[in-house]
Amino acid sequence: MLPAINIGPFALYTPGLIFLLGGWLIVQVVGRAAGVYRLSGDRMEIIVALALLAGIVGARLGYALMSWPYYLRDPLALVARDLQAFSLPAGVLTTILVGGWQIWRQRWPLWVTLDALAPGIALAALTYALAQFASGDGYGLPTNLPWAIHLWGEPRHPTQLYAACVALLALIVWRQSYRRIQTPGVLFLTICGVLAAGTLIGDGFRATGLLLPGNIRFSQVVALIVFIIIVRIWPKLTLQHNMQ
């Protein structure tokens, strides 16, 4: 766990640094991937950068909305240096909405565009996993396995590293496949399928996260639903492409 990196007199918040670096990498990689699929790489870079910036603003506004009376009394708090005053779900939603709207305006083919965005999704998952590892959040259940890490008083499953490995696997799959000629959308579905399957399995070892009644993990339910949808869509997509 490394919540802060000390460089001389300065202490830098590590998860924040990881998010910044991850965001920059996502813009670079998705821009290059767009070029492979004959989309404008420069335009894609701008769209993704704008979407990520909008996500930061959306995350702050989403957080403020949850407690709007206090922010109404103190509007300057919206721009305060509160490093944790961000809502991740609001940020992700804003990123998707702003990015989706910008992409729709380009009139690019949907599945080809999603294939170009696929490495960005895997990188985003990797960034999140590493940020959680740095902050110590998302920690695992206690275990005596040889690869357990000592965190929060006992040896635990390194669930943040499990998630990072799944994201890396998704990236490797993308890297091996992206130049192959295949049905548009298949690569995007493959990456999402790997991430969903990894979340379904890996989150089974987490000690944190939203629980539904009966101690059912919400993240695993969502991952299973996404995985099944992908399995159902896949043959229909391939068949549709073959018929064309």
């Binding site: 918040y13 957080y63 006992e154 089974g204």
Partner: protein
């Protein structure tokens, strides 16, 4: 290429396997008993002297919502948020809020701490971590770092850096103040 029937069987098997894993891997009910500076765990002990030499411990404050703020007099963001902490303390102490300001005296000095208390008119308890042991126990790597502890002595939020805004702090403490012990 799979036919439709095989595909349906595959989907069914995957759903059953997925649901089975979700049920098997349900986490047990966990009660926070280990003292660790992380949300959901009991807050590690703090037993430190104040400026007047009297010892104050975190356990004496059980029953209140405690903002444990690690700071130093030379730290700019720490100084910037102290007036807000004082204001919040005065406004909510009757509802059971207290601020426990832990000075990182291992990298500060009591004279500067005393001057700052006087200059800022700070009325909440200030304790001195002379050897840095409490800071280490709380895993403090940057100043300020703020831990919000509920009435049962459980850490509910950790806030790195500053200066914190009152709106953000209120967002965290208001639900805790509304909780009964």
């Amino acid at each position: 290429m799979m036919n439709a029937q095989s595909h349906n069987w595959l989907s069914t098997i995957l759903i059953i396997a997925g649901v089975a894993w979700i049920v098997i891997s349900r986490p047990p009910d966990m009660n926070p008993t280990v003292p660790v500076p992380q949300p959901g765990f009991v807050a590690p002990a703090i037993v430190l002297p104040q400026l007047d030499g009297q010892t104050l411990s975190l356990s004496e404050l059980q029953g209140q919502v405690v903002i444990v703020n690690f700071w130093a007099s030379w730290c700019g963001p720490c100084r910037a948020e102290m007036p807000m902490l004082e204001q919040l303390y005065q406004a909510e102490r009757r509802r059971g809020l207290t601020v426990l300001a832990v000075n990182s005296t291992v990298q500060d000095n009591p004279a500067d701490v005393s001057n700052m208390q006087r200059d800022f008119g700070l009325s909440f308890p200030i304790v001195l971590d002379y050897d840095g042991s409490v800071g280490n126990r709380y895993g403090v790597r940057m100043l300020p770092t703020t831990f919000i502890i509920d009435r049962k002595g459980v850490v509910r939020r950790v806030l790195f850096g500053g200066p914190l805004s009152e709106a953000n702090l209120r967002n965290v403490i208001e639900p805790l103040l509304a909780e009964t012990e």
